[in-house]
Amino acid sequence: MKKVLISKVGCETALGSGPEKLWLELLAGRSGIKPLTRFSCENYVSNLAAGIDDLAIPAGSSRHDDLLDRVADQVGPIPADSRLLVASTKGEIDRLQTACRHDEPVPASALFEPLLAKISRRFDLIDHGTNINAACASSTIAIARGAAMIAHGQAESVLVYAADLLSEFVFSGFSALQALSPTPARPFDAQRQGLNLGEAGAALLLTNEKRAGDSPLAQVAGWGAANDAHHVTAPARDGSGLILACREAMQRAGIDPDQVAAINAHGTGTPYNDAMELTAFDSLFGKKMPPLHGVKGSLGHTLGAAAALETIVGGFALTAKKIPGTVGCTDPEEVGMGRIGTATQSIDGDYLLTTNSGFGGINGALVLQGAAS
């Protein structure tokens, strides 16, 4: 198995442009969640989200274009023979919504093929790309697959591009499901009421050692995925799918649970998700549960982009030997007591576990290793 390194990254979130900015804002405990002005929220259970305010919409196009440009500019040139894996749950949903609102024909951009072609062109890649749709674990599964392709010698580099827009389509749906919090989300807090949606684009260039350059962010040392086989929209309360995914990821990385220095959890802020995760981590780590945190109190839930962002944050955390606080978690659930809170925590060790779970019962886990180690 070849080593898999994260060689280049770029991201755009409600907290600004670029990975360094994201890291510093998270360390400062800032949140991009605020009242929405993009569409009326009068009939929804919340008006809060973490959108990117100044995303341009070219005439007849999608906010995706601007998001892609910004992320691609940060990443810069990459090898043209890199394979392309995209992780987006709803692609250019804003264009479909606009067409339907105006009784226009369904645009071709309702499919993923034009979006894949656009991303491939923007990064000057030969590969036309594949979109992976695994709900909120889409980019976990994409990174896992990209890592596997490199580890098994099928590719020298893989670009994972992950993005989802803040759209009324998705916002109204989560509102109808009563999953949105009317107040800023409080992941892992005993008083949490639900999630806030976010918007983001992120790219990670995964490479083998030969193509890694001088300063890779981190190594993707392990990955795992499992379905709960329990329910389509609710997590298995015993965390069985997440436990399987984490065990697979740790086994692939060749580590024991006590070597995990920190966890970047999915932490949506919904009562069931966060309880399930804590149950799973309790089962995996028991009294040796490492420090954990989540970023969705700052960035909102960015759906297909979530794991890509969290992997970038995980890389920075391993380098800095600390994890940012979890915005909103002022009164942690008992299981997480002493392990999660609003303050930055120091970490000691080389491995960080990052996890995501989504509709359709999917769970994904990645083990990151500090590049220096």
Partner: protein
Amino acid sequence: MKALINGIGWITPAGFGQGHAANGQPLLAGELEIPTRKQIFAGIDRRFGRLDDFSRIGLGAATFCLRDAGAEEWSEKRRVGIVAASRYGCLRTDLDYLETMLSEQGKLASPNIFAYTLPNCFLGEAALRFGLTGNSMIINRHDPDRVTAIRIALEELSWTDQAGILAGIVDLTPPPELAADDDLPGSLFLLLERGPRPRIEPYGELVLQGDQLIFNGKEMSDLKELVASCLRIES
């Protein structure tokens, strides 16, 4: 990278069926009938009535595939994954949801329809009915040969400890303005496993060599040819 093909099931314009009882090529263009619960499950299935059409055909084809392989019944969850390729995904469901969302400025947005606007949700429906705890994903890409999901499944089997993968295609008839000449509406799954099943004759061995799919020693150009070879019919 290799696996045995132990089951085939489909819901296509050719009808509803499974490999060991097949008498013709299931991958045909034409009108697609959406199955009712009784056409798939003999017993009560309280969730089926809520499913969107995309999920119905995907779940139906996966069910027939497992039935064909003698793998429908289970007592303990199994490390079996599902990989499905789709060009149009759940676009029809998106349009249905938008109707509910746009009519009264969001007041009537349907939570039940929204839940199926993620195309991987039907994978969860299959997983929970049949106890499948492997990886599960929908893939979208230009896939004229319709074998991308099968290639990914063979790689997953080679690179992980999963015992099997249901791999296939799922697409409803698209809106006319997006229709393409080579559309094949419907769903078809193959069950790829590491070894044979008791009392069921495998269709044969599938090998991935580089980009080439080789079935029983012969290179396959597309899914139609692979299915025809499995069923020993004209492609």
